[in-house]
């Protein structure tokens, strides 16, 4: 179906698509699958629906992405969260928490499709043989920040111990999380029924997460 007839049949659809897709701009992400261990999920993303404006910190980006299956026929819309997660001991990865909650049977939380750290070569070595095989290979070290390492070097001047603590520099690692539900922001609700149902579901989900003693 070409774009014109699509616009005629579904007024507003093109606009909705254009919120998440910019022509000729597509990025392919390869994320370790959750359902099938050792494999990668291919997600195509274009325009983020949320971009963090802060240059430091997690730098969260949210995308609507399309998962393309190996047979290139099926596809589904997913939500991709791209963050620079804090890589210190005691801070769990979001995907691991989600997974444990699912194992405990918590409902009203998004189903996990794939998650994992982004590696330096970002699956580049898999490019040529992508369609035939999505088997995960050892793809090397994760993309990480270096400022935290450099900050401890001897040649860094003007820093006393106290000041160094104040800087609060911690290592970060590039991380992607793919979940199965892609939704619209809360403020786009169509009526009070939808708003109440939506918030009620979110409340139940949060309540069950807290009340489930999964530790």
């Amino acid at each position: 179906m070409d774009q014109l007839s699509m616009q005629r049949d579904n007024p507003g659809l093109i606009d909705k698509v254009n919120e998440h897709y910019q022509e000729e701009v597509i990025t392919r992400l390869l994320v370790p699958s959750v359902e099938r261990e050792g494999e990668l999920v291919q997600v195509l993303v274009s325009r983020p629906c949320f971009t963090s404006r802060s240059p430091t910190g997690r730098s969260t980006r949210g995308y609507w992405g399309v998962v393309v299956k190996e047979n290139m026929q099926e596809s589904e819309v997913v939500f991709v969260k791209d963050v620079w997660r804090s890589n210190v001991e005691g801070v769990e990865r979001e995907g691991d928490i989600l997974r444990r909650l699912h194992e405990k049977g918590v409902r009203n939380i998004p189903p996990l499709v794939a998650h994992g750290d982004v590696t330096e070569d970002d699956g580049e070595s898999l490019c040529e043989s992508f369609v035939s095989s999505l088997t995960k290979v050892d793809v090397g070290v994760a993309q990480a920040t270096d400022t935290d390492k450099l900050a401890r070097k001897r040649w860094v001047v003007s820093l006393t111990k106290k000041e160094r603590r104040k800087l609060g520099i911690s290592p970060r690692v590039h991380y992607r999380l793919v979940t199965r539900k892609a939704g619209y922001p809360l403020e786009t609700f169509s009526g009070s029924k939808e708003l109440l149902e939506g918030t009620h579901g979110a409340y139940l989900g949060g309540f069950r997460c807290l009340s489930t003693s999964f530790y």
Binding site: G123, V141, T145, T160, K166
Partner: protein, 216 residues
């Protein structure tokens, strides 16, 4: 950019190309993922703690830095000047505690411009880090920005130090698997455009770059 600068601390900048640079210009055999390293080449001191004992003056200096770096927050491990007053008139980033000094304001502006460029690059593209140069007269500083902060080198006199090694950029800083650049989300785009254009009137290229993303 596989580049190793050896800046000796306290006696002024001494820059010499690392041996690796000539034997392995592309850095292919170098196992460290760090594309640019400012240091004395000795990694054994990585976790060495500096001694306390810097004076009040240093404290003041840092506070001032905190205030001006709105975007990178207080995340500033810096290899600022080696304290040779009088000589550093040409150098960027010799901040004092007095914000009314004109020379300081200009340095802050120059640094802010660098920060704005790095910020835009990291917002619009997938990057693990961004390099930038800050040049003032005969002196150049190398800056390396990533998601946790920025590292600034000492000022290097590039006319005197002709041995300063340069090489082509390696593909490391940029994440691959990308067709085109990563556009901003529609909501952020307008805000970004407004704020940057009003903050930096001289940077017309930012304006045109932002325009490029609004076709929809």
């Amino acid at each position: 950019m596989q580049l190793r600068l050896r800046c000796s601390h306290g006696t002024g900048p001494v820059v010499s190309p690392d041996d690796d640079f000539f034997t392995d210009p592309a850095g292919l055999e170098n196992t460290t993922p760090l594309p640019l390293c400012f240091g004395d080449g000795d990694d054994s001191d990585e976790d060495e703690e500096e001694e306390d004992g810097e004076g009040e003056e240093e404290e003041e200096e840092l506070k001032y830095l905190d205030r001006i770096m709105y975007s990178w927050g207080s995340r500033w491990p810096h290899s600022f000047d080696d304290g040779q007053d009088g000589e550093d008139a040409h150098r960027p980033y010799r901040f004092t505690a007095d914000p009314t000094l004109d020379i300081d304001n200009r340095r802050v502006a120059a640094l802010g411009q660098n920060a704005a460029y790095a910020e835009i690059l990291m917002t619009r593209q997938f990057r693990t880090c961004v390099f930038s140069l800050s040049i003032s007269g005969r002196f150049v500083r190398f800056l390396r920005w990533d998601r946790e902060g920025v590292v600034v080198s000492q000022a290097v006199d590039y006319k005197a130090d002709l041995s300063l090694p340069f090489s082509g950029p390696s593909p490391l800083p940029r994440t691959r698997n990308v067709v085109g650049t990563s556009p901003l989300s529609p909501r952020v785009m307008q805000r970004t455009k407004n704020s940057f254009v009003t903050e930096l009137p001289s940077t017309s290229w930012i304006n045109s770059a932002c325009k490029g993303t609004t076709r929809a």
